[in-house]
């Protein structure tokens, strides 16, 4: 006669266990499905893709070469993505760049949410932008309507549309320039 196993699993317990496992799996699958269908996933993957693409393009530019490039920005409701980069000599570069020059596509903080790719040359980012100076701030100048002052920023915004860039490589330094049009009055 077989010895009775007091610790054996009973049918209702097994069924409950199975239902619990299936339930948890469904919840995990559902959450994963929701995430993969969200803008967040699309944004993140687009940013990664653009970072990879920029790495390939920048590494292919030859010395003394100048070229125009059209890229597509990142479609996101907040519109906060930007393109930037650091040379290996720049001490302010994020740790993500390790001991390399790098090009990054970031949302807010490159160290936290950026996608950085190492590049073989030094890099300089020039976003020629304009900011509006209202008349009150123009002391000593006789402007009635205010004016636009030029400012060069080391970050190029990446809104969800096409962006025109100019690439120039000189003495192992690649310069990415972007020009923002002065807003029409």
């Amino acid at each position: 006669m077989a010895k009775k196993n007091k610790r054996a699993l009973l049918l209702p317990e097994v069924i409950s266990l199975i239902i619990a496992v299936i339930g948890i799996s469904l919840v995990i699958f559902g959450l994963r499905y929701l995430y993969s269908n969200s803008y967040i996933d699309q944004e993140t993957r687009s940013a990664q893709y653009l970072a990879d693409k920029m790495q390939t393009i920048l590494d292919s530019v030859k010395d003394k070469e100048t070229t125009d490039l059209t890229i597509r920005g990142i479609f996101s409701p907040e519109n906060t993505y930007f393109l930037t980069g650091w040379s290996v000599t720049d001490k302010k570069r994020p740790q993500k760049c390790y001991l390399n020059s790098c090009v990054c596509v970031c949302k807010a903080d490159c160290q936290k949410d950026g996608f950085c790719r190492k590049i073989s040359s030094n890099i300089e980012i020039k976003n020629r932008d304009y900011f509006y100076v209202p008349p009150a701030a123009l002391e000593g100048r006789y402007h009635l309507e205010g004016s636009y002052e030029e400012v060069i920023k080391p970050e190029i915004p990446l809104p969800g549309k096409l962006i025109s860039l100019n690439l120039e490589k000189k003495d192992s330094t690649i310069t990415i320039s972007h020009f923002t049009k002065i807003p029409e009055k």
Binding site: K4, A8, L11, S38
Partner: protein, 348 residues
């Protein structure tokens, strides 16, 4: 003796078999089926999901439409797609006639596929993206506060080697191809399909000179654009004015020359809630030397009229214009005038 309810080895094995069989069935029904879906089907599904979602929820439903990258070449790669992944390389035959025909076929198909996937202009896709659509259309569709949204369905480029073969590119005649070639699905020509069978052929094109025509590009983007208006009368007035004033409609600075299917009877045509053909000018400026099909004048599918969406009535955004057109990818300014934002994604 076995306690009542205790599992026997047979029961355990049966249970394991049942679970494994169920898992395999689920896998084949769901996972493999999803993988089997083409990108187009996934895109179409996301378009329908977006269009049937309440406006407030549209922001949460991304359009899962990937921009296809097609490279026309003679065996080499397209410089325009440097760094891009999942590029479809179309190696053209050496015979210029056949090569040109291949370019026409793929280009026309890209236009039609984009139009079809986006619901032929009749689905409300962007009402919930931003809420500041007010007084959308002003005179002649020249919209100062316009926020037209776009989906870039595909990018078509020519390789460096192909650019050196004008005998191929000069033979490309997309307009002619679309007039004469039937789509298998519809049994109608591309032109008839785009125009609800109202148009069989294009009338002689008016001369177009909108500047920038000397600038060359090696890449075009098949782009779907939609803008919404709250009031049918606004659309009607703008459209009628456009038709009666030289068949010209301006959308965000890009000029659409609307073909009138009834020729001189423009008064009788008026506003039609149906598909109409249009020629986009100014948005594109010629694809490399001799790429005459896209030089200055290009065919576009356009629909102006009532659009379908769950909350459209609530927001009064029941009417709109949708256009699918090949645009010069490198003409950033012109593209951005037509598209405030571009949805979809590029990664593979």
């Amino acid at each position: 003796m076995i306690k009542r309810g205790e599992l026997t080895s047979t029961q355990i094995v049966s249970l394991i078999f049942a679970i494994v069989s169920f898992s395999i069935l689920v896998y084949f029904l769901i996972v493999s089926n999803l993988k089997g879906n083409t990108e187009d089907e996934v895109c179409k599904l996301s378009v329908l999901t977006r269009a049937t979602s309440p406006d407030i929820a549209q922001r949460l439903v991304p359009l899962k439409c990937r921009t296809k990258k097609i490279c026309f070449s003679l065996g080499d790669d397209c410089k325009a797609f440097l760094g891009d992944k999942d590029v479809t390389n179309i190696k053209l035959p050496s015979n210029p006639e056949e090569a040109a025909n291949k370019i026409e076929e793929i280009s026309a198909d890209a236009l039609y596929t984009c139009w079809r996937l986006m619901g032929e202009g009749k689905l409300n896709l962007f009402a919930g993206i931003e809420k500041d659509y007010k007084n959308f259309i002003s005179d002649f569709f020249k919209i100062d506060e316009a926020k037209p949204y776009c989906v870039m369905c595909s990018r078509l480029a020519v390789s460096e080697n192909l650019k050196k073969h004008p005998e191929i590119l000069s033979k490309v005649n997309l307009l002619d191809y679309m007039e004469k070639t039937k789509i298998k699905e519809t049994g109608k020509t591309y032109v008839q399909t785009f125009t609800d069978k109202q148009v069989n052929s294009f009338p002689p094109l008016p001369p177009a000179d909108f500047g920038n025509s000397k600038k060359q590009t090696d890449q075009i983007a098949i782009t779907y654009m939609q803008l919404l208006v709250k009031d049918r009368d606004v659309l009607k007035t703008a459209y009628d004015k456009g038709v009666s004033s030289g068949l010209t409609v301006l959308i965000g600075g890009t000029q659409l020359q609307t073909l009138n299917p009834f020729g001189a009877l423009s008064k009788g045509f008026g506003f039609k809630e149906t598909a109409i053909a249009a020629i986009v000018t100014g948005g594109i400026s010629g694809v490399s030397a001799g790429y005459s099909a896209w030089n200055n004048q290009i065919i576009a599918g356009q629909y102006c009229g009532e659009i379908t969406g769950i909350d459209s009535e609530e927001q009064n955004l029941k009417y709109g214009c949708s256009v699918v057109a090949p645009l010069d990818f490198n003409n950033v300014e012109s593209n951005n005038q037509l598209c405030t934002k571009i949805e979809g994604y590029e990664y593979g």
